[in-house]
Amino acid sequence: MDESRPIFQQIAEQIENDIIAGLLPEETQVPSTNEFAAFHRINPATAGKGVNLLVDTGILYKKRGIGMFVAAGSRERLVAERRERFREQYVQPLLVEAEKLGITADQLTAMIQKGGGR
């Protein structure tokens, strides 16, 4: 767990990541609040807050008496949201660091094109 942010946000993000990665396919049941709490060793109320955050945004929905399920279309929605945040979260810090080190835009582009080749 990252110390700087509320745990319930991190729980919500982790569930989102699992949906994006296809580990939690749409219309499948997600683990219960108590299961999340035991697994991450956190307070069940905190885990519940994280799950409820996703219910509020419509990513998860509740089947009464059964549990929480991944809503249809969730994956697509999450991917679209993440793409919008990508520039701010990843590209901008990359540019700041590159500028600090005197790496030019061309050099940076070359590095990106080389990509995973390392």
Binding site: M1, D2, E3, S4, R5, P6, I7, F8, N34, A37, A38, H40, R41, I42, N43, P44, A45, T46, K49, P93, V96
Partner: protein, 292 residues
């Protein structure tokens, strides 16, 4: 939310010392609280007052809506495991466990037996022959298996090793999930328990400094570091909890930063670091500043 305990204007004096000084707060049903503070801050006195093991100098205490003093109905639903919990010395571990149902209305003997196995506690050994860690394990087992609707653990793990402490946290969480109740954990090991807590009370010199949701406190402070001039320029007009400097470098702990604040700090060449609950409490209780 149902209030389990309510304290108003509570003061406890020992001679001239105000161990608890005009304190007011409430504990609500089915939450895990952290009661945090330095040695001598008043944690144990506060818990002793709530469990009627000490008498208040001034102020009112209501536990389950009643005065707890000499109140068997209230005390049967309350457990207080002290740091140096005493048992009759000639008792064996099994005697402690078999007498527990006399004191705790909700005692679960099967759960206690399972915990004895988990902690590998020798049932037939006399209390006075137990190691410090084993004695703490007895307290932990009594506290958990009592399933008291209001349970206090005061530094319950003197001498317990890291494995046993983790076992305690795990059993506490799973049992709490199945049998919700109000639990107050008083501890110095803030980093170890911070994820278990839903609400935090910080006490210093007998007064409550912080009474807040644990998740609100997370990210409630950030440390920024860089050249002293950049740090000073950035902190101007902001609340500073703590400041350190070496030569031309400085670091300061400030209140929560929004996205714009973070960008400004990065643009000014400052490094940002999160502040853990433990660091936040160390900083609040050493400077004596009020974080409201």
């Amino acid at each position: 939310m149902t209030v389990v305990a309510e304290v108003q204007g509570l003061t406890k004096q020992f001679g001239k010392v105000h161990a608890v000084d005009d304190v007011s707060f409430t504990l609500t049903e089915n939450r895990i609280y952290g009661l945090l503070g330095r040695n001598g801050a008043g944690k144990t006195t506060l818990m002793s007052l709530l469990t009627a093991q000490e008498f208040a100098t001034r102020g009112t205490i209501r536990v389950f809506g009643e005065n707890p003093v000499e109140n068997a109905g209230v005390l049967a639903r309350t457990a207080f495991i002290k740091e140096s919990q005493r048992y009759p010395e000639d008792f064996r571990v099994k005697h402690v466990l078999s007498s527990a149902p006399w004191f705790f209305a909700g005692w679960d003997a099967d759960f206690a037996a399972a915990l004895v196995d988990d902690f590998r506690l020798p049932l037939d050994r006399r209390i006075k022959k137990l190691s410090r860690g084993q004695l703490s394990a007895v307290g932990v087992i009594v506290g958990l298996a009592s399933r008291a609707p209001l349970t206090f653990f005061d530094e319950p793990y003197l001498g317990l090793d890291a494995v046993a402490r983790q076992l305690f946290y795990d059993r506490l969480l799973t049992d709490y999930a199945e049998h919700p109740r109000t639990i107050v954990l008083s501890t110095h090991l803030i980093d170890e328990v911070s994820n278990l807590l839903e609400h935090v009370l910080v006490i210093d010199e007998g007064r409550i400094l912080i009474d807040s949701d644990a998740d609100t406190l997370r990210g409630a402070a950030t440390t920024i570091a860089g050249t002293a001039s950049a740090v000073d320029a950035f902190t101007r007009g902001r609340e500073v909890l703590h400041r350190e400097s070496i030569g031309g470098l400085a670091s300061a702990t400030v209140g929560a930063l929004d996205a714009a604040g973070r960008r400004d700090a990065s643009a000014a060449g400052l490094e940002l670091a999160p502040v853990s609950l433990q660091q936040l409490i160390v900083r609040t209780t050493t400077s004596g500043e009020d974080l409201s």
